[in-house]
Amino acid sequence: MASYWNRNPIRVFVFLILTVFVVVRSNIPSTPGEGAEERRWEASQVGDVDPGMSVAPPHPHTNTDSFQEELVVRPLHSGDIYASFQFRTVWEADFSRGNKVSHYQLFPKSLGQVISKFSVRELHISFTQGYWRTMQWGQPFLPSPPGAELWVWFQDSVTDVDGTWKELTNVLSGIFCASLNFIDSTNTVQPSAAFKPLGVGNVTDHRFLRYATLPREIVCTENLTPWKKLLPCGSKAGLAVLLKSEKLFHSSFHSQAVHIRPICQDQRCKSTSLELRQTLNAVFDLHTSGQAKREWSLFKMFSRTLTEACPLASSSKIYIDITDNSQGEQFELSPASSLLSQAVVLGDRRTFSVYDLTDQATFGSTLSPFDKKWQYPIGDMLRPLLHAERYVAGYGLQTGEIHTVMYNHHPYRSFPVLLLDSVPWYLRLYIHTLTVTSKGKENKPSYIHYQPSKDRLRPHLLEMLVQLPPNSATEVTVEFERALLKWTEYTPDPNHGFYVGSSVISSLVPSTVATNTSITQEQPLFSSFFPCKEELSYFVRVYTEPLLVNLPTPDFSMPYNVICLTCTVVAVGYGSLYNLLTRSFQIEEPSPGLAKRIANVIRRMRGVPPL
């Protein structure tokens, strides 16, 4: 109760101040009828103000933007369905010239303005609800950590990167209705190796890179709506019609992301264009939502059906992963598609059944193109080669130990991984206790980059390059001490614990299947995000679970109690001192005892002088 005593009045008072503010502001005389209540609508009259110039001959404007949309549906071995949307808008704009007037066609204006104002070179932002279970579901097409993640490469013309970053996070927070404004210097790091630019460009000076995660961020409808607004067709046509929030958020995993990067316009890469990729991944647990029936269809997953492709899209396709279903033993597709496509995704050759939505015949007679009966999968899933997990060990509220375990499931190849850990300052890492062991032996990292934290200023940053031996588990442990926070630094629910963002493990994993490295060939969007330079390995980024760490939490009535107690102690001490100083002490004659007094009374009654 006492904690409320201490906190609520402050809020009440702030409110009071605000009211006073409003009152004072409204004392200003204003025009009658000013404000939102009346907007007069008037017909425009064009008088002689028309400049009367010669009518410019209208010439067809070449449409330089392009838009693609794509949905991949993959039945997972756990019985869940993985749906992955990708929308790609390419804007052939040159930002290096710095021209002021900006004209947008398919590219959203709000993002374009942000990019040009803050000189952003690459921007990657993701909002995720739930944790991707790599061991059950395999690798996702685009990984993302729980909560919000934002990493930005700025142009090398930016002088005050930290200031720009702060402003940018505030603006993005407004655009995506998310609490990205909580990103400050205490949760921002500059990774030196783990996050390389994904687009073209040779700037790799990590002074221009900022990376931050908010593992506590909760993703919901209010983040989806602005995300959908960035699509040229909105949610009115095309695949985005399926994105209905009540179904999307009733899923085991939901992740939406925006990636902006410069890409080559053509093979010779003389000029660049800006690519905006909006991805949305969801894993549906149809067993619980479908009354224990394992049937699935687009309608059951999204409670919508497709009627048309987005008319602005140059390609609009649905891919159904039928690798495990080559003979139709697990599910049937209706209507069946004759078009098959093979693609190498994450070191695995997959077969997809392709539906082209720009082809009117796809929709056919039935409105629901996919209706499938499901049987439990037979056979084992290909185990992901790289996998990681993390936990906090130790007891008590003073010290603890962070364990990060990385698994290499490759039977005979070892490969290096880059581990990035960003730990908030209130967990004080004892970096001398850092140990890396694999198979019971010490595994010395070949590269370690450690930036110690500064209290209330910046987090710990730990990056290292570790070689993972084949078929092994490598454990990285580091001890930490929990710091005491100031009482205003605690969250409103401090006993819930404090989140520590996921570790990021990036690696080039050796692959048995050759990946197509040429960029000329038209590839499905889901397999063409990470640039691939080598044929026999593929890039994987794995995020571990975020940690939830309990910090010593004080009783929040403490400040008031302490004030009262201290005051009382001071008052008592002061009182006795005061008494000692001001009172005069003198020896008093001891007063006569009770017997003597009674005797005296009796003697007085008898008329005898008292004792």
């Binding site: 008072f13 009518v55 010439h59 449409n63 709000s110 303005q113 005051c567 009182g575 005069s584």
Partner: protein, 562 residues
């Protein structure tokens, strides 16, 4: 007994010295450590600004061409003449308009310029001769016989800061100079009403400061149409294509902006900074369903329903994330194939010629019908090239209105030159600058005075040095702006008033003013009581005791004396 007396004296001295310590050291220390930091503010100057006395001065030059005044009259012409006009707008705001009129005769070169065949050419060559400074005017009095002006036109207002005034027929040579000047004066005044500041404009600009009783609806609508003065504006052109399946729209916005909008904005650059962008929005619908009119086989939007048109579109327009300046929206709406053609009807149920309307302080919308592109047997989508000249003519007119370039109807005998390629005459810019300066001054003074009032009322608010600095610079800029207006340096006045408004807003909206560290007094004392009560009670009690003892002793002494 002597020992106890000494003891008692010592006790008394101890009590007194402790009380003295508490009062001399403790209380000031407590006061100092719990005090909020409040930097010094120029309160006296702010209070001075609360009473605003604005004086607007404009220089007017009246030039007599040959044949309008006799040489004797020309000699006697007074060099300058000052006319003051005082208005008390309300008890705190007074206005004074001062026109300093200078009379002179035309130079030889000016005479040559006035011999040009048309008024427009004369205007141009006069402009080449000399450029009059911002805010001033030159009126050329030309003889009645001059062929520059058509028969029924007496006054020609040029594109720059010059006007040609034809002298009346009754003012033949031979009248006295007094009569001549008396004849000219009302006409000059009329010209000034059109070309320089008018009382209506200025009072409208003061609307932030002064509450007006609504006298007529029309003037309120006029005053509310334009955007508030702001150091910058964002202009956004949006092409709304609700039906991308049927229409593939192409608009050359880049070229159109360069040709039509940019010259105007370049001209307006002293008033504010402008940034331009454009976007295309697909599937953006209007908020109302238009009514089908079978007699015309067209869809009709009534003026009453226009208010509901914008709201659903506005959600899609998006605010400018990268700046906080007000946004002017210009929407070009191409109705979908099933609701086409679409026409806007005004309150009198007549078709609006331009098929466009604007909303005060928001922007404009134009409906662009593309039925001409449908031919029998065309298959959708249809490629449509939008005629940007037609569109930009409408948007330019709306932009002028929304920016507050007033086009008050001049008297019938006036001829106003069509504005040139920039879309704005110099004197129109001057008018805008006058009213913007006054508006900025009015807004900045109200902001600063209300901030001072707020800080005065809540003593707990921390006033940091940067706020004090902003306030002082706002006050200085305001004083400078007022002084420049008084002298008639319009350009500087606007510049200073803009600085004032920026500084005052920055001070008013500084987040440090709303810091979370204010506690109400009763709660502060609830925390202090456990310390103060046990400390103060013994001190008070012993002080009382000493006082009563002293009194007692005095009484005893008195008794002894008696």
């Amino acid at each position: 007994m002597a020992v106890t007396e000494v003891e008692r004296r010592r006790g008394k001295l101890a009590a007194l010295s402790i009380a003295a310590m508490v009062i001399l050291v403790g209380v000031p220390l407590w006061w100092k450590t719990t005090q909020t930091y409040r930097a010094w503010l120029p309160v006296a100057q702010i209070n001075e600004l609360a009473k605003l006395q604005l004086q607007l001065s404009a220089d007017v030059e009246v030039v007599f061409a040959r044949g309008t005044a006799t040489p004797e009259q020309q000699k006697k012409v007074p060099v300058t003449q000052t006319q003051d006009e005082d208005h008390a707008v309300d008890e705190d705001t007074t206005l004074r308009y001062r026109h300093e009129t200078r009379y002179r005769t035309a130079t030889v070169m000016e005479e040559d310029a006035l011999k040009q065949p048309t008024a427009a050419e004369a205007d141009l060559s006069l402009h080449r001769l000399s450029e009059s400074p911002c805010g001033s005017l030159v009126i050329y009095v030309i003889p009645e016989s001059s062929s520059l002006l058509p028969e029924n036109v007496n006054v020609y207002i040029g594109q720059r800061r010059t006007a040609l005034l034809r002298i009346g027929a009754q003012m033949k040579v031979g009248k006295t100079l007094k009569q001549l000047l008396a004849h000219l004066e009302p006409r000059v005044k009329q010209i000034l009403q059109v070309m320089s500041f008018s009382h209506n404009d200025i009072t409208a600009a003061l609307s932030d400061r002064v509450r007006f009783s609504p006298d007529n609806k029309e003037s309120i609508a006029d005053s509310m149409r334009a955007f508030k003065s702001s150091p910058g504006y964002e202009i956004t052109f949006s092409l709304l294509n609700p039906d991308p399946k049927s229409h593939r729209l192409h608009w050359d916005i880049e070229g159109a902006v360069q040709t039509y909008i940019q010259p105007l904005l370049t001209k307006l650059s002293p008033v504010a900074n402008f940034s331009l962008d454009s976007q295309i929005l697909y599937y953006a619908m209007l908020g109302v369903n238009p009514r089908y009119d079978s007699s015309r086989s067209a869809y009709i939007l009534n003026a009453d329903s226009l208010a509901h048109v914008i709201n659903p579109v506005e959600a899609r327009l998006g605010s400018n994330a990268a700046s906080s300046n007000p946004v002017l929206n210009f929407l070009l709406y191409v109705p979908d194939a099933h609701h086409s053609p679409l026409y806007i009807h005004d309150h009198k149920k007549r078709e609006v010629q331009t098929n466009a309307f604007h909303s005060p302080r928001w922007g404009g919308i134009m409906v662009y019908n593309v039925n001409g592109f449908y031919q029998t047997g065309t298959n959708f989508p249809v490629d449509v090239n939008i005629n940007m000249a037609k569109v930009m003519g409408v948007f330019l007119a709306q932009l002028r209105l929304l920016l507050g370039v007033q086009s008050t109807a001049p008297p019938s005998s006036f001829q106003v030159a069509p504005c040139g390629s920039s879309g704005l005459a110099d004197w129109e810019l001057d008018r805008l600058m006058w009213s913007r300066s006054v508006e900025n001054v009015a807004t900045a003074t109200t902001t600063i005075t209300s901030l001072a009032q707020l800080l005065d009322q809540i003593g707990n608010i921390v006033i940091n040095d940067n706020i004090a600095q902003q306030v002082s610079s706002a006050v200085t800029s305001l004083q400078l702006a007022v002084a420049e207006l008084e002298v008639g340096n319009l350009g500087f006045a606007l510049q200073y008033s803009k600085e004032a408004i920026l500084a005052s807003e920055k001070a008013f909206f500084d987040p440090s003013l709303l810091h979370l560290l204010y506690f109400p007094d009763d709660q502060k004392f609830a925390i202090y009581i456990p310390l103060f009560l046990p400390m103060c009670v013994p001190i008070l009690l012993s002080l009382l005791k000493i006082v009563s003892e002293v009194r007692q002793r005095r009484r005893e002494k008195q008794a002894k004396k008696d």
